[in-house]
C-alpha cells in the first residue's frame, strides 16, 4: 500500500503542470455540479415555503352546528403540529343597504364570514384595512364598503335571505378578503378543495354576533350533506359551520413531496384522533401536491439544463487526464514488467485518483460556494451542514470522476500484454454501442418523441379557471436528452472523418506547400480534432442552448407577468378613489415611475356573455405599459390605438367575440353596461374599431377595450379603479407607491412579485439563478476546453514538432500547425454549437410554449453572453497557443529526440 502510494504521488509530482490542469478542470466540473446541488436544494425549499405561504387556510372541516364547531376546534387545537384551530362559519346573504347623506345605497347578494377573536393570528384569509372586529359590529370588504358608500360607525342593514327582515349592524372596519375563492368554497371532504367563484359582496362578523343574529334566520348546512347541493360552486344557501385549521409549517420538511406526505399524514392523524367528529377539506395537501409536481418539473428542467454541462466538464477532465496518458501507460507497463499485478496497478490508479479527487473536490466545493454566494441574489440559505454535504458530494464526485478518467485513459494497459503496453501503436475494434448504432437510435427516438409530444400539444394542459394549473409530462424531456446523447455519440462515431475528408479535399492531393501541409496534417488528425470538437462543440452548444433558452424563458416570464397584472407596477383601488385622491398623478410622481395611466376595469354584457371591459386613456396607456403587435389582429399596436383614439365610442373586441357574433370593423355593438349609480344594466352603443387577442391585465380570452371617458360616462363607476405604471426597478417602485398611497386603500403589485406568485406555477421556476451559475461555469469551461485541446495537441505531437525543428522548421511554421487546428476546432465548434444549440433551445421552447401566454414569437438571443462564450473560447485558445509557442521555442530538442 505504501509502495503504491509512493509511486502514485511521485507520478503526480513528476508532471506538476499536468497534475494541476487535471485538478483544476475536475474542480470546475464538480464545482458546477456542487453549485447545481446547492441551487436545486434551495429552489425546492423555496418552492415548499412558497407553496405553504400561498395557502391562506390549510384545512376546513364542515360541522353541523355552532356548538360542534367550538368543541371540535378545541379538540383539534390540542393535536401536535397545529398552530391554530378556530370555529368559523360562512353564509350567504340576500342583500345589504346603507342610508347615507346622498340617499340609500344597495348591494346585491353576497357572503358572510364569521370568525372568533384572535382568528387573524395565523389565518390570513383577510387583511383589515381600517378598524377592527367588534362584538355586534360588521367589517365590510372594501368593495362592499365602496358600493354601500359606508364608513366606520355607519349603520348598515343585511338581509339574510329573500323576504326576511333586514338586520342592522354598526360598521366596525373595512377589510380586504384575500382568498374569497377558498374561503367561501363549498365544503365536501370527499371531493376535496373546489375553489368557487368569489362573491360580489362580502363581509366579516364576530362569530358570536353571527350566531345570535343572521345564523338564526338561515338553515345550517349539514356536514354529511355537503356533498350534494352545497358542492356546487356559488350555490351555498345557508350557514356552513366549520372548523378552520392552520398547521405548523416548520414540521413539514424541505421538499414539496416530503411536505405533501407529512401534511397528508398529519390530517389523517387529526381525523383519526377525533373519530366521526370531523373530516377536512385539505387545501394544504392539494397545494403541496401541485407543488410536488412542479418540483418534479423543475428538477427535470434543471437536470436538462445542467447535466450536459457537467458531463462535458467531466469529459474535459478525461481530456486533461489524456495529457499524461502516454507517460502513464509506459510507466504502468513498466511496473507490470517488473511484476506488479493488475490489482496493484489499480491500487496505484485509485490512490492517484483519490489524491487528485480530494484536492479537486475541495477546490470545486469552494468554487460552488463562491458562485452561489456571488451569483445568486439573496444566496441559497447556506448553513454549515449544507456546505458540508455539498463538500462531501463534490469530493466524492471528484474522486469518482478522476478514477473514471484514469481508468478510461489507461484502459489498454489493464487489458493488454506487457509487451503490447510498451509499444506505441495500437488498434482497437468498434465498441458495442457503435455496432448497435445506439447513436442513430437515440437521434431517431429523440425525433420520434418530439414529434409525438408536438402532435399531442406537448402534453401541456392548462385549466382555464381562475386557478390555473399546468401539467407537463417529464417524459417529453427525453427528446432533448436523447438529442444530446445521439449527437455526442454520432460525433464519436464519425471520429472527424468528415473534417478529415474536407481537409484532404481542400489540400488537393499530395501536399507541397505550407497550406497543403496544414490541410493534410489536419486531415490525418481527424480523430484528435474530433475529440476537441466533441468537447468544445458540445460545451459551446450547451452554452448556446442554455443562453437562448433562459433568455427566452426570462423574456416570456416578464411578458406573462406584465400581461397578468397589466404593468410593471399596478395599483388597484376602490372605485372613486383614483379621481377623488388624484391617484394617477400621485403614482406618476413617485420616484422611479417613468409613466402612469389609469384604467377603468368594468363589466358589460355582449348578448348573454358578461365580459371584462377596460376603459383606457389612449394618450398615456402605451407609455405606461407594453403593447406588442402580436396582441392585435389586423394592425399594429400603434395603428389599433390610433383607431381607438380617433373614435370616442370605439371599442376593441376580442377575437372570440368577433367570431361568435360575426362582427366586422365599423359594426355597431350594443353593450349592456352596469350603471354603478343605479345598480342596473343599460344599453350603450359602441363601434368596433379593432380586434384584440391579448391585453394587459385581461384575465380571459373574451374581453373588450374602450375609451376611458366614454366608458366612465356610461358606467358612472366613479372613475378608474386601476393604475398601471412603468418602472425601471418594479419591486422598489412598488414599495414606494404602496407607501405613498397607503391611506387610499390600494393594493400594489409588481412584475417581480407576480413572477413569483403567478398562478401558472411552471413559470415560477426561477431560472435566473441557475443560468447565472451555468453561464459562469460554461465560460470558464469553454476557455479551459480550448486551452486543453491545444495543450494536449502539442503534448501528443511533441516528437513531430521536435523533429520538424531539427529539420530546420521555424517556430511560426511549427506554430501554424497548432493554431490552425485550434482555429478549425473553434470554427467547427461554433458551427456545431449554433446548429445543435439552436435546435435544442427550439425544442425546449416549443415544448414549453403552453406555459406562456402568449407563446414566444421568437427565441430571445443573449448576444452579450454568447459573445462572451465564444470570446472565452478564443481567449483560451489564444492563451494556450501563446503558451504552447513559448514552450515550442524552448523545447529541449536533445532530450525529446533522445526519448524516442
Amino acid at each position: 500500500m505504501r509502495a503504491a502510494s509512493t509511486i502514485a504521488l511521485r507520478g503526480l509530482g513528476r508532471a506538476p503542470r499536468q497534475t494541476l490542469t487535471r485538478v483544476l478542470v475536475l474542480a470546475a466540473a464538480v464545482g458546477l455540479l456542487g453549485a447545481m446541488l446547492l441551487f436545486v436544494g434551495h429552489s425546492l425549499r423555496t418552492m415548499t415555503g412558497s407553496a405553504i405561504r400561498d395557502v391562506p387556510l390549510d384545512w376546513q372541516g364542515p360541522v353541523a352546528s355552532y356548538g360542534q364547531a367550538q368543541s371540535v376546534a378545541a379538540g383539534v387545537a390540542r393535536q401536535p403540529g397545529i398552530i391554530q384551530s378556530s370555529p368559523a362559519a360562512t353564509a350567504s346573504f340576500a342583500g345589504a343597504s346603507h342610508r347615507g347623506p346622498a340617499g340609500i345605497s344597495s348591494a346585491g347578494s353576497g357572503s358572510l364570514l364569521a370568525v372568533p377573536s384572535g382568528y387573524e393570528r395565523h389565518i390570513t384569509t383577510f387583511r383589515l384595512l381600517q378598524g377592527r372586529l367588534q362584538p355586534g359590529g360588521v367589517v365590510l370588504d372594501q368593495q362592499l364598503a365602496a358600493t354601500l358608500q359606508a364608513q366606520i360607525g355607519d349603520a348598515i342593514a343585511i338581509t339574510p335571505r329573500p323576504a326576511a327582515a333586514p338586520q342592522s349592524f354598526r360598521v366596525s372596519g373595512v377589510a380586504l378578503i384575500t382568498a374569497p375563492d377558498v374561503l367561501f368554497q363549498p365544503l365536501n371532504p370527499q371531493l376535496g378543495p373546489a375553489p368557487a367563484q368569489p362573491p360580489a359582496n362580502a363581509a366579516i362578523m364576530p362569530l358570536a354576533t353571527f350566531a345570535s343574529t343572521i345564523a338564526r334566520q338561515l338553515p345550517a348546512i349539514a356536514a354529511a350533506s355537503a356533498g350534494s347541493a352545497g358542492a356546487v360552486p356559488g350555490a351555498q344557501n345557508g350557514v356552513q359551520w366549520q372548523v378552520q385549521v392552520q398547521a405548523d409549517p416548520s414540521g413539514l420538511g424541505s421538499t414539496p413531496s416530503q411536505a405533501y406526505t407529512r401534511a397528508t399524514r398529519m390530517v389523517n392523524r387529526v381525523e383519526r384522533s377525533l373519530p366521526g367528529q370531523i373530516t377536512f377539506v385539505d387545501n394544504l395537501s392539494e397545494r403541496l401536491n401541485g407543488a410536488a409536481g412542479d418540483a418534479l418539473y423543475a428538477e427535470a428542467l434543471f437536470i436538462m439544463l445542467a447535466i450536459p454541462g457537467a458531463l462535458v466538464g467531466l469529459g474535459l477532465a478525461y481530456l486533461a487526464a489524456l495529457g499524461t496518458v502516454e507517460r502513464d501507460r509506459r510507466e504502468l507497463a513498466l511496473l507490470r514488467a517488473r511484476g506488479a499485478t493488475r490489482r496493484q496497478l489499480l491500487g496505484v490508479a485509485a490512490i492517484e485518483s483519490l489524491a487528485i479527487g480530494l484536492i479537486a473536490g475541495l477546490i470545486g466545493t469552494g468554487a460552488a460556494l463562491a458562485s452561489v454566494t456571488l451569483l445568486i441574489k439573496g444566496g441559497v440559505g447556506l448553513t454549515p451542514a449544507r456546505a458540508v454535504v455539498a463538500g462531501t458530494v463534490c469530493v466524492a464526485l471528484a474522486i469518482a470522476g478522476a478514477l473514471v478518467a484514469r481508468l478510461a485513459t489507461g484502459a489498454r494497459v489493464w487489458r493488454e500484454s506487457i509487451s503490447a503496453g510498451r509499444r506505441s501503436a495500437h488498434r482497437e475494434g468498434k465498441p458495442l454501442w457503435q455496432r448497435l448504432y445506439l447513436d442513430v437510435f437515440a437521434l431517431g427516438l429523440s425525433g420520434l418523441i418530439f414529434w409525438l409530444t408536438a402532435s399531442t400539444g406537448f402534453a401541456a394542459v392548462v385549466n382555464p379557471d381562475s386557478n390555473q394549473t399546468l401539467s407537463l409530462s417529464v417524459y417529453m424531456f427525453f427528446a432533448p436528452a436523447l438529442l444530446w446523447i445521439g449527437a455526442a455519440l454520432l460525433l464519436v462515431r464519425l471520429r472527424g472523418r468528415a473534417l478529415a475528408w474536407a481537409a484532404r479535399r481542400a489540400a488537393g492531393g499530395r501536399a507541397q506547400t505550407p497550406r497543403g501541409f496544414l490541410l493534410v496534417s489536419a486531415g490525418r488528425r481527424g480523430g484528435a480534432i474530433n475529440r476537441g470538437l466533441l468537447l468544445v462543440g458540445l460545451l459551446l452548444a450547451f452554452g448556446v442552448d442554455l443562453g437562448i433558452f433562459t433568455a427566452t424563458y426570462d423574456q416570456q416570464s416578464a411578458v406573462d407577468s406584465q400581461l397578468t397584472i397589466g404593468g410593471d407596477v399596478t395599483a388597484t383601488v376602490p372605485p372613486g378613489v383614483t379621481a377623488a385622491h388624484n391617484l394617477t398623478a400621485k403614482v406618476a410622481s413617485t420616484p422611479g415611475v417613468q409613466a402612469a395611466t389609469a384604467v377603468d376595469h368594468s363589466y358589460a354584457y355582449v348578448g348573454p356573455d358578461l365580459q371584462d371591459t377596460f376603459g383606457i386613456d389612449t394618450s398615456s396607456f402605451t407609455r405606461a405599459t407594453t403593447l406588442r403587435d402580436s396582441y392585435f389582429i389586423g394592425g399594429s399596436a400603434a395603428q389599433t390605438m390610433a383607431r381607438l383614439r380617433a373614435r370616442p365610442d370605439g371599442i376593441l373586441v376580442s377575437k372570440e367575440t368577433i367570431a361568435d357574433y360575426s362582427l366586422n370593423l365599423g359594426d355597431l355593438l350594443r353593450l349592456r353596461v352596469l350603471d354603478h349609480r343605479s345598480g342596473s344594466f343599460w344599453v350603450v352603443p359602441f363601434h368596433v374599431v379593432g380586434v384584440v387577442q391579448e391585453f394587459p391585465s385581461a384575465p380571459r380570452d373574451s374581453f373588450m377595450v374602450a375609451n376611458l371617458r366614454y366608458l366612465e360616462a356610461a358606467d358612472h363607476a366613479g372613475g378608474p379603479n386601476v393604475v398601471f405604471a412603468k418602472a425601471g426597478d418594479p419591486p422598489a417602485v412598488a414599495r414606494r407607491v404602496a407607501a405613498v398611497t397607503r391611506g387610499d386603500g390600494t393594493s400594489v403589485k409588481d412584475v417581480g412579485e407576480q413572477t413569483q406568485q403567478t398562478v401558472s406555477s411552471i413559470t415560477t421556476v426561477d431560472l435566473r439563478g441557475i443560468s447565472r451559475i451555468l453561464e459562469a461555469f460554461t465560460i470558464v469551461l469553454a476557455a479551459a476546453a480550448m486551452g486543453l485541446f491545444v495543450t494536449l495537441g502539442v503534448a501528443e505531437r511533441r516528437l513531430d514538432f521536435a523533429t520538424m525543428t531539427a529539420l530546420g522548421a521555424r517556430l511560426r511554421e511549427v506554430g501554424a500547425l497548432v493554431w490552425s487546428e485550434a482555429g478549425l476546432v473553434l470554427v467547427a465548434g461554433v458551427g456545431l454549437a449554433a446548429g445543435l444549440g439552436v435546435l435544442l433551445s427550439e425544442m425546449l421552447v416549443a415544448m414549453l410554449q403552453h406555459v406562456f401566454d402568449p407563446p414566444p414569437d421568437h427565441l430571445a438571443v443573449p448576444w452579450g453572453y454568447l459573445g462572451a462564450l465564444v470570446g472565452a473560447a478564443c481567449l483560451g485558445a489564444a492563451l494556450a497557443t501563446a503558451i504552447a509557442a513559448r514552450g515550442l521555442a524552448r523545447m529541449p530538442l536533445g532530450s525529446i529526440l533522445r526519448e524516442e
Binding site: 501503436a425 507541397q512 505531437r797 523533429t803 529539420l807 522548421a809
Partner: protein, 235 residues
Amino acid sequence: MSAPAITATLAACRSVTVVHGRGETAVTALDDVDLAIGQHEVVSLTGRSGSGKTTLLHVLGGLIEPSSGEVVLGGEQLSGLDAAARGRARGRSVAYIFQGANLLSGFTAFENVSFALHLSEQRRDDQSLGAAELLGLVGLAGKLDNLPAELSGGESQRVAIARALAQHPALLLCDEPTGHLDSDTGARVLDLIMRLHEQLGFALVLATHDPDVAARAGRVVTLEDGRVIADGGPA
C-alpha cells in the same frame, strides 16, 4: 566512384562540455571535447551507451547548446546564438537521420520529403530533385503515399534518408541509423547512405556502437564517459 576529397573544416567543437541537470544530480555528457569534421569527410563516433555519442551529434548540429566551449558550423559560430538562430544555421547545412527515423506521423512518405524540401527551398536550384525522385533514389517510388505507420523499419529509414537528402546537407548526422533494423536491412541502409555520400559529397558523421558500421568510415572517434579517447583510422 572514388570518395570526395576532404578539404576545409566544416564543423568543429572546441573544449565542449555538456552537463545535464544541476547540483548532485548533474551528469556530464561531454567533457572538454575537441573535434573537427572536414568537408566530405566520413567520421564514425563509437562508444558504449551513455558515452556521449548522441550528445556530440546534437551539439554539432546545434540542437543543444553546450554548457561551455565553442561550436562552429560552416564557418559560423553557434555558441551564444539563441535556439532560433541555431535552427536557421542548422537548416542551411545540416541534416539528421535518427535511430528511429522520426518520420512526421501525419505526413506520407512523399510529404515527409516534400516538407524538408519546402524548408530548404531557398537553397534549391532548378536541378534539385523533387520528393518523388528522391524517394525513387532510395527505392521507394512505390510507397509515396504510405504513412509512416504503413512502412517497415527499413523503409522508414530510407524515407528518412530521402528527407535528409532533400535538405541538401553539407553535413549529414546519423544517430545509430541501423540500430532498429535487422542486420541485412541495416547493411542495405548503410550501403545506401555511403553510396549517396559518394555521389553527393556531403560530410557524414555516424554515431554507432556497431564496430562493423564504424569500420565503414575513414575516421573513427571513440568516446568514453563524454571524453574522446581515440581519434584515428578504423581499427
